[in-house]
Symmetry: C3
Subunit: 207 residues, 3 copies
């Protein structure tokens, strides 16, 4: 298995967990769990593959991804009640999945010889879209739009780290590691210690 | 006309009805009706064709689909007030459309030689996505996410029936019929008698 | 630069402004501004290019579009507080972007030799989808669905004007000008003087 395929597998598993946890909050049945888990798990990578015009979307080329997402959904269906807080579990699963998916997205774009701007954007889009679709479909406020949290910013920083590692010609496995660790550190720091960038504030008097 | 094209036509007509009824609930004008009707009518099939990398999306290859969806929207615009309950009419139109679209989606994937997992998923995705987009755009809770109803489950059962019929080598017209009838029966039973699968329940004490 | 590329640039800039203004209403940080601005700016054109199966999505073929959308987002981040009403500014930016994007969408479809129905639809879809995605993601009621306003209708009229200009064989620059001016006039008239088409009304007694 290539490192890129391993990243796709890891991101599918962790995103499927976060999707199934969102389904548990919406109190769906087993098939509903599988539906939201699959949507979340392959959403970002599908967007990447369609936009980059790859020969086939990754999960159509290898249906094992779908089987795995469904198995994960089934496991979560029977064990989600064990979590102290499913919302917290969802957010941590999402953070791990984001970190892995950014590396997977940017890595594929880099391998296809895209320019740096597209590599960075594909990293951010692959990372953010699965979760965005999960939240839009489940009618929750998208995590990517929560005020005062690093999310798209963490993804962008990770993608830039990958570009830098590639620029100084590190072996590609280190590109992925740097990207994933930086993204996860920033996202986790934001969740635990409230790290954030300054947000836009309207003038106090009006509006 | 091939059976697959006939299925696409039927699904476009019935989904367009459900989309136009949703537009009537949002009190849009005639062009708004046509917009939501087209979105709902071709949403699922478009997703299918883009994911499966077909030469052209079905309604670009044959614009008659769009003309039909617009005509349907116009008819509903002038007759929707005749329905006793537009919400109920919407749900039944959606149930019929779902049944037809699952057969259309799974049938195309099967004909392209996709493996069973992808055939089943394409059936579910083609069936569910038009209605999902209609509900997200019109800001209603997606039918596919209503608790305690068979929806994605009905679609999945229908797609599996189609796979089984194909496995025992029935003529393809029977594949479509079995798939459509099973999907519709399950969905209708859920709407009338409340058939459902057990849903996820959080522990009573907390969360 | 061809007129079609110029239209894409103009539409990216003005949609990016509207996206960044939506981000300011959601009080996001700088990267959040860039995210919503890019999504809004390239959403419609991306849909058009994927559906029409063009060799590459326009902003992947030329990443300058993304760079521009990010710069616009940064400028809005630091200047949005200068607007008297950001909601009003957003709606006018959206109106200009709609007018330009309809011309860009219909123009590309016409150049690819698509039949009139598809040209009209691509104009409407390219015009409406960027803003639709912005509003769905930011959890606002989509402008395209506001009751009693010309929006999809204005886009459709503009696309038909372009088709007419092409039919009487005017130079293509006039096609774009007629299309853009008609769309903008109808949209602006709707915003200022309340121009509208009759909307669907349910019967008074029940519903």
């Amino acid at each position: 298995m290539t490192p890129l395929a391993a990243l796709d597998y890891a991101s599918v598993i962790v995103f499927a967990i976060s999707g199934a946890l969102a389904a548990s909050r919406a109190q769906l049945d087993l098939v509903g769990f599988a539906f939201v888990a699959c949507l979340t798990a392959v959403g970002g990578g599908t967007l990447r593959d369609v936009l980059l015009n790859r020969d086939a979307v990754f999960w159509i080329a290898d249906p094992a991804y779908i089987v795995i997402a469904c198995l994960v959904a089934a496991v979560v269906f029977f064990t989600a009640h064990l979590f102290e807080s499913r919302q917290k579990a969802l957010m941590w699963a999402d953070a791990v999945a984001l970190s892995v998916a950014v590396a997977a997205g940017a890595g594929v774009a880099l391998k296809l010889g895209q320019p740096p701007v597209i590599v960075a954007l594909m990293g951010v889009a692959t990372g953010c879209f699965g979760g965005l679709m999960r939240d839009v479909v489940c009618n929750e406020v998208p995590l990517v739009l929560k005020q005062g949290e690093l999310y798209a910013s963490a993804a962008l920083a990770g993608a830039l780290a990958l570009l830098f590692a590639s620029y100084i010609e590190l072996p590609s496995i280190f590109e992925f590691i740097f990207c994933g660790i930086l993204t996860f550190t920033l996202r986790a720091g934001s969740m635990i210690w409230g790290w954030s960038l300054p947000v836009y504030k309207s003038r106090p008097p009006k509006n």
